[in-house]
């Protein structure tokens, strides 16, 4: 345990902390970050394994999948449901929002912890509970819920239809608990960022990643409510026998869809914004350039957040809503592509005139931009109502959202981890392994999902365990493309071993990182690597914005925020 004599730390009477208190019961935001991060990564392994299993079944129907066995139709539905649910709620959210939010916010605004450390700890504990509840659903009678991560009733509301009486309710419970955990976490992020900034740090001196995580938290807190209400109603339909979503009892299945997507759409921006924020930090550091048009970036993020409340029914164009409503949602959906496009343009503009080093974090950050562009443009096909009639529920949709979610959850995470690893652990990561890992992830990634765009355009619909039942989708080249995607997935999954090996050997024998190995401006790089409990030997004062790189007339090409001159 670090001992630090500092006049600013009124609470420092240090005693040897037991392992349990230090790692399991800690209120330190950095430890809570690791708790969320490791849980999220563990769940990613599970979600990734599931994708391997169901892709094997799709590409080679009836095969006995190595490490799993035969995949029944019911299990297939359970696997795809769990994959989607896990990746969004138990990987993207905890890693991008909770882990990076917890780590970066206090450090980057120059304070010693979150304002409500005990609530912070509670948020992880609730999250951990939600994880246990979800995982338990795999072991109950009937198996895990298999009605897709969107859980549309009446299928999800009635065990007579879904055959997973316990799994369906455990799923709802787990998701509801996860929401509570993030509401608790969000309170900390927002209030800490608003109130605990270092002296001198104006709103426009806050690093973009902090702003974006805070905006994401605000978005989450203002949008999840209706779905919590919906989850309560769904749970009651399942367990108490109410008929909120049962047409025979005056209920409406489409109501769930509205409640779900009213949250579901802002949710994608909740996870997107932190990833974009991480990308922004890395691009500025490794091109030694000020972020282009900081204020514009901020306004577009806020605009995106506000607009995200107006687009939800583009998921429901053909769901039986009044067809006239489709016009409104096509317009709002296409409109929302504009601020996001603008953000991508800003990153590209930041590269102009830069001095670019293609370090591993920079490779990931650039890959985010390059790949997310594909996700973004393919969304237009789906937001345009007339085109969506054809594309709805095809693999085109799936490929679109993997070209957005994969950059968000996977590329964004690796970007952030490879960048802040030296700060978190005091050691540099191995750059060679890092680059091998990068290329062996990115290249196969494209070979998984480009075939799926083609298959979707050729009519292949989603959530089908055996395309041999559909003559028009059983042709040789259809299966060839499915096999290509599946082989690429296997290569990509195996490549992740390189990352874990890198983490292991770097932790044990990586080069010791100093405070600021990348010569960055933001405050976290002014603390020790790793920062002790309390973060800073002396809490910093801020004199300028976070992106004063390559300022003309200065000897160094960077200018930390807390340097007096």
């Amino acid at each position: 345990m670090a001992e630090h004599a500092t006049p600013h730390h009124a609470h420092e009477e240090h005693h040897e902390e037991g392992w349990v208190k230090k790692y399991l019961w800690s209120t330190d935001h950095k430890i809570i970050c690791f708790q969320y991060m490791f849980t999220g990564m563990f769940m990613a392994l599970i979600g990734g394994f599931f994708s391997y299993v169901f892709r094997m079944q799709t590409a080679f129907p009836g095969i006995e999948v190595p490490l799993y066995g035969m995949v029944s139709a019911a299990e297939y539905n359970g696997l795809i449901t769990s994959h989607g649910t896990i990746m969004i709620f138990w990987v993207a959210m905890p890693v991008l929002v909770a882990a990076f939010g917890n780590y970066l916010i206090p450090l980057m605004i120059g304070c010693d912890d979150m304002v409500f450390p005990k609530i912070n700890r509670l948020s992880y504990q609730v999250f951990f509970l939600s994880t246990v509840v979800l995982l338990s659903s795999f072991f109950v009678d009937g198996g895990p819920f298999g009605g897709a991560w969107t859980a549309y009733p009446p299928l999800s509301a009635n065990a007579a239809w879904n055959n997973t009486p316990l799994g369906a309710s455990l799923w709802v419970l787990a998701v509801a608990l996860e929401f509570v955990a993030f509401l608790l976490g969000g309170i900390n992020f927002i209030t800490t960022a608003m109130n605990s900034r270092a002296p001198g740090m104006r709103y426009t001196d806050i690093p973009i990643v902090v702003w974006f995580i805070v905006i994401a938290s605000m978005l989450f807190m203002s949008s999840v409510g209706p779905l919590i209400a919906g989850a309560v109603m769904l749970f009651m339909d399942q367990q108490v026998g109410t008929g909120f979503f049962d047409p025979a009892r005056g209920g409406d299945p489409v109501l769930w869809q509205h409640l779900f997507w009213f949250f579901g759409h802002p949710e994608v921006y909740v996870v997107l914004l932190p990833a974009i924020g991480i990308t922004a930090e890395i691009i500025t550091v490794f091109s030694r350039k000020k972020l282009f048009a900081y204020r514009t970036v901020l306004f577009t993020a806020i605009a995106t957040g506000v607009l995200s409340f107006t687009v939800w029914a583009h998921h429901q164009f053909i769901a039986g809503i009044d067809p006239r409503m489709a016009h409104i949602f096509t317009i709002t959906t296409l409109l929302i592509s504009v601020p996001i496009a603008e953000m991508m343009f800003v990153f590209i503009a930041t590269l102009y005139g830069g001095s670019i080093t293609l370090s591993t974090p920079m490779l990931w950050a650039l890959a985010f931009v390059g790949e997310f562009l594909i996700g973004g443009v393919t969304g237009i096909f789906l937001g345009a109502s007339g085109a969506d009639i054809y594309f709805h529920d095809t693999y085109f949709v799936l490929a679109h959202f993997h070209y957005t979610f994969f950059p968000i959850a996977i590329i964004g995470t690796y970007a952030g981890v490879t960048y802040w690893f030296p700060k978190m652990f005091g050691r540099m990561m191995n750059d060679t392994l890092g680059k091998w890992h990068f290329w062996l992830t990115i290249i196969p990634f494209n070979f998984i999902f480009i075939p799926l765009f083609v298959l979707g355009a050729a009519g292949e619909h989603r959530r089908i365990y055996n395309y041999q039942n559909f003559p028009e989708l059983s042709g040789e080249w259809f299966f060839a493309l499915r096999e290509l995607a599946t082989v690429a997935l296997i290569i990509m999954l195996l490549a992740q071993v390189i990352f874990f090996v890198n983490v292991y050997i770097s932790l044990r024998s990586g080069k010791k990182a100093g405070k600021n190995p990348f010569r960055a401006n933001t405050l976290e790089w002014q603390a020790e690597s790793p920062p002790p409990h309390g973060n800073f030997a002396e809490l910093p004062t801020v004199y300028r914005g976070p992106y004063e790189y390559s300022v003309p007339g200065r000897a160094e090409d960077y200018w930390p925020q807390n340097a007096p001159t």
Binding site: P247, V254, G320, I374, T394
Partner: protein, 231 residues
């Protein structure tokens, strides 16, 4: 573009393919420009010994232009796309042929099969000579149809790729829409809303027949004919 892989089998299939093509051209253009500039900048501004990066805030108007102009152009493209999409949407989802020119057909979805009710020789549904089938929909090419889509249990969704048509089936409601086939042949019908364990088995076929073939099919399903076959 879609027609490379899937036959255009309805009167509106070409329009749907057309809006998809328009979007592909416009977003394809922007995509290539953005990625092109992106990669060019990465190469052009690689770190070089002794050379420092420039200090550009992006706050001055002449710098902001480079973001503002593309973003206004994107907006203009969006307008074209919206207009195109709305026109197709109105054609497919907000119009119905008149009763006089259309036949009706009922599409019933359930866990896990499709059943169809066709009007018999009298051309009317809900009459004694209606023909009920499972997993096979028989229609006449060049004839407008109004479909009445129902579900007996959970959400399903009626999808005919050659028509480019999709419509969710909601229990407790009858949802109507229309189509008119332009080619003959037998094609896939899919269920495109996950509906339980058997969702992947919910395949049906649409049999699009010439007027003579269709008349013959109806005739072979008259009560007398069926009785003869079941003796």
């Amino acid at each position: 573009m879609i027609e490379r892989w899937v036959v255009q089998g309805s009167t509106y299939a070409a329009d749907i393919d057309g809006i998809i093509w328009l979007i592909a051209v416009l977003v394809g253009f922007w995509f290539l420009v953005a990625e092109g500039v992106f990669f060019w900048l990465i190469v052009k501004f690689r770190a070089r010994d002794g050379q420092r990066a420039q200090y550009i805030t992006g706050e001055e108007a002449k710098q902001k232009r480079f973001i503002a102009w593309p973003h206004y152009l994107v907006l203009v493209c969006d307008v074209f796309i919206v207009v195109g999409a709305v026109r197709v949407w109105v054609e497919v989802k907000q119009s119905l042929p008149s009763e006089a020119e259309a036949q009706r057909v009922r599409v019933i979805s359930q866990q896990w099969a499709w059943s169809f009710v066709h009007p018999g020789a009298d051309g009317k549904l809900e009459s004694a000579d209606d023909i009920r089938t499972v997993d096979e929909l028989h229609i006449e090419v060049g004839q407008k149809y109004i479909y009445e889509l129902e579900s007996r249990d959970v959400l399903h969704s009626f999808s005919v790729p050659v028509f480019r048509l999709k419509q969710d089936a909601v229990p407790g409601r009858v949802i109507t829409g229309w189509f008119e086939a332009t080619v003959t042949g037998t094609y896939d019908i899919q269920c495109v809303e996950i509906c339980g364990i058997g969702h992947g088995m919910m395949a049906a076929r649409i049999v699009i027949e010439s007027p003579e073939q269709h008349a013959a099919w109806i005739a072979s399903h008259s009560a007398a004919q069926l009785a003869a076959r079941t003796r």
